[in-house]
């Protein structure tokens, strides 16, 4: 029995992540190169303009904040732990993370409800979308659950999950800490790899094409056919 559990942990936490990462890289690049037309945020604002605001805006603010937290803790765990060494700062961080997490959860539910109930928006909701919403809902729900029931995640994430992720990147996966985690945390991690694996096959690809170049470019865009050296002006 234990061997089977060990085996499963290895597959889920040491093998599957690589599968997910390869799928992610190969999938997004291939899709960009062969079907760049399909890279789109696929907005449905034209079809329904009111609920759209209340669902989509808080969701994006929520998820971006929470994800940024994860990424920062992953990149600079030491500083993160140092920051958390004062209890007050830890409380503030935890509470705001929780608030953003719950915002994400509620607005994700609103997004799904909108997709269900508005007849026009429903038409543009594909199977891939439903699947994605299922994964995201599970992910955000797990996240909020973990935040509530396994307190001080912002501290132990930096101490346990971050080393795990680094060990994956260094191609020497160490899963002992993860294997000992509670089920909800494990689910959160596996589902995260699932989202990454399916990323190239969903509308999530729009994250890769956020138009940051707008902030730096000239206002008008002119393309020349005959003098490519002046491609822009």
């Amino acid at each position: 029995m234990t061997t089977f559990a060990n085996y499963l942990d290895t597959v889920l936490f040491a093998v599957f992540p690589y599968v997910a990462m390869v799928l992610f890289l190969v999938g997004t690049i291939h899709r960009y190169r062969s079907e760049s037309f399909t890279y789109s945020s696929l907005s449905s604002q034209l079809l329904e303009n009111k609920q759209h605001f209340w669902a989509v805006v808080p969701f994006h603010y929520g998820i971006i904040t929470v994800l940024t937290g994860h990424i920062v803790a992953f990149l600079i765990p030491r500083q993160f732990l140092l920051f958390n060494s004062k209890p007050l700062r830890l409380y503030i961080l935890e509470v705001s993370a929780l608030i953003f997490g719950i915002t994400t959860l509620v607005s994700l539910l609103a997004i799904i409800a909108r997709r269900f109930t508005d007849p026009r928006v429903r038409v543009v909701t594909t199977k891939a979308d439903w699947f994605l919403y299922g994964m995201l809902l599970l992910q955000v729900f797990c996240g909020v659950y973990v935040a509530i029931f396994y307190r001080w995640g912002s501290a132990w994430f930096a101490a346990s999950a971050s080393p795990y992720l680094w060990s994956l990147l260094k191609l020497r996966p160490e899963i002992a800490v993860i294997a000992a985690m509670p089920f909800a945390v494990k689910l959160h991690i596996v589902n995260a790899w699932l989202v990454i694996a399916f990323f190239p096959f969903t509308r999530l690809v729009h994250i890769l094409v956020v138009p940051n170049q707008y902030l730096f470019r000239k206002r008008q865009v002119v393309r020349w056919y005959r003098r490519p050296q002046m491609a822009r002006s």
């Binding site: 760049s36 034209l46 026009r120 008008q220």
Partner: protein, 496 residues
């Protein structure tokens, strides 16, 4: 001087009969695909009226176009900082209900309905979700409803007009309206391009046509909000924005755009204008009163040796310069000053110009007798049924000088021709009118010819052009009809 060439257009509103042939020609070629049913790249509005999408001219509502803010030119709807927050939800984006939900009819029911006491009907079905639909609005719902209290009375251009002027528009016996066909203006200072976060929208350097790169559009929808003419549309099926492409595949093969080609009233003219690209920003910043003059001044004289030299230096081919010299648009806009840009106060510098319409011949109602005398036939334009103020809002940024000038000259053309052909106006009167209209017999004769006797070759002077992509060499573009359209060979299937 940075000389560039631009395919420009003139619509002669006095000739438009409101038949919508242009709209249908366009729809059949370009917007008969899923997701584009609600788009009318070419539409014809009845004015006064609310237009399509409803009240598009009301920038309080839609925040389109540019505004001058402390000497700087800013988009009303977006900016580098605003887009960071507005990218998730664009607060100025119209919804489908501002246009209309497209529909077809359940024709099958006419044949398949079981026997009954009533005639079967073909109920309307939504083209978005295939469900039965109660139609309460559509494109051109206000067609010909010039006096309507629902539509005409809500025309944004009526703001600032007094009760008397409004009454003048809507009095039943004298009710007045005209048609206003609209396509993308292929502006010199396009708000849509400046708003696009992805850099997917661009102006073609060679001819000024404004396009959306379908492969780079990511559905951020900033262009839809930014265009003050609401001429970029969002395809809800493919998740890409689309707009009038001025039929570039036709232009590139020497044919006029479909709406131009099919125009029954022959109101449309197309030709090259040379302009000085260095001055675009300066011109767009002019004060409201000066905008029209400034806009005209950016257009260069194609016979001026310096301009020709500058054009050659910029790689403009001699054949294009020659086309610019023959351009009917140059005559209307620059030489005759008859054609005016629509809503120039939006500051996108539109390159489609309109010859403002003459009001219907003024009739005097005397008790029950409707009469007009020869002198009154060409009534003073200030007493026209269409208040000058209204036209000034549309074509003069609120100032009537340029509109009055254009109408007076048109009137002189009519008087002159009437003197020649009917002879019930004295030569002295005609000469006085010509003087007052700042014109000459030769000019008036030329205007008359280009208005009434124009052939295809006179109306459309298309230079040889370079192709966007020479795809037809390899593949039949008609294969892609109803799916990709022309010029784009990756199937336009929606992303997952």
């Amino acid at each position: 001087m940075d000389v560039r060439s631009q395919i420009s257009m003139v619509f002669h509103l006095d000739k438009c009969i409101g038949c919508h042939t242009c709209s249908i020609a366009c729809k059949n070629i370009w917007t008969d695909r899923k997701g584009t049913e609600y788009m009318w790249w070419n539409n014809v509005e009845t004015k006064p009226g609310t237009g399509y999408p409803t009240r598009w001219e009301d920038q309080e509502k839609y925040s389109g176009g540019w505004e001058l803010k402390g000497g700087r030119l800013e988009l009303r709807s977006t900016s580098k900082s605003k887009i960071v927050f507005n990218i998730f939800h664009n607060p100025h984006m119209p919804s489908m209900d501002d246009y209309y939900e497209p529909w077809t009819y359940d024709y099958g029911n006419l044949f398949n309905a079981p026997e009954g006491c009533d005639q079967p009907t073909a109920k309307p079905i939504s083209l978005v979700n295939g469900k039965y639909l109660d139609i309460d609005a559509g494109p051109n719902w206000d067609d010909d409803l010039g006096g309507s209290r629902v539509y005409a009375a809500n025309d944004p251009n009526l703001e600032g007009m007094n009760e008397e002027q409004r009454a003048q528009l809507a009095a039943v016996e004298r009710l007045v309206m005209f048609y206003f066909p609209r396509i993308c203006n292929h502006c010199l200072n396009p708000a849509c391009v400046a708003a696009c976060p992805s850099g997917a929208m661009y102006k073609r350097g060679e001819d000024g046509i404004v396009l959306v790169d379908q492969k780079r559009c990511r559905a951020w929808r900033a262009c839809v909000a930014a265009c003050p003419y609401k001429k970029v549309f969002y395809n809800w099926q493919t998740g890409k924005s689309e707009k009038c492409i001025l039929c570039f595949p036709r232009l590139e093969t020497g044919q006029a755009p479909a709406c131009f080609h099919s125009c029954v009233g022959r109101i449309r003219y197309l030709g090259i204008l040379l302009y000085d690209a260095e001055r675009i920003e300066e011109i767009a910043k002019s004060s409201d009163e000066n905008l029209i003059d400034a806009h005209r001044s950016i257009i260069l004289d194609p016979y001026d040796p310096q301009v020709i030299e500058g054009a050659r230096a910029n790689g403009i081919h001699d054949s294009v310069i020659e086309a610019a010299q023959k351009s009917p648009v140059y005559l209307w806009v620059k030489l005759w000053k008859l054609a005016l840009p629509p809503h120039i106060e939006f500051r996108t510098l539109p390159m489609l110009f309109y010859v403002p319409p003459m009001s219907p011949v003024m009739a005097q109602k005397d008790g029950d007798i409707i009469s007009h005398t020869s002198d009154d036939l060409f009534h003073d334009i200030d007493q026209a049924r269409l208040p000058m103020q209204y036209l000034a809002r549309l074509f003069g940024a609120g100032h009537d000088g340029k509109v009055r000038y254009a109408l007076r000259k048109q009137k002189a053309v009519r008087a002159y021709r009437r003197w020649l052909t009917v002879g019930d106006i004295s030569e002295a009167t005609v000469d006085r009118m010509l003087r007052e209209a700042d014109t000459t017999r030769d000019e008036v004769e030329a205007i008359y010819r280009l208005t009434s006797l124009c052939t295809f070759e006179d109306r459309f002077v298309i230079p040889p052009m370079y192709r966007e992509e020479a795809i037809e060499m390899l593949q039949d573009p008609m294969e892609a009809k109803q799916s990709a359209g022309f010029g784009f060979m990756e199937g336009p299937s929606r992303g997952l």
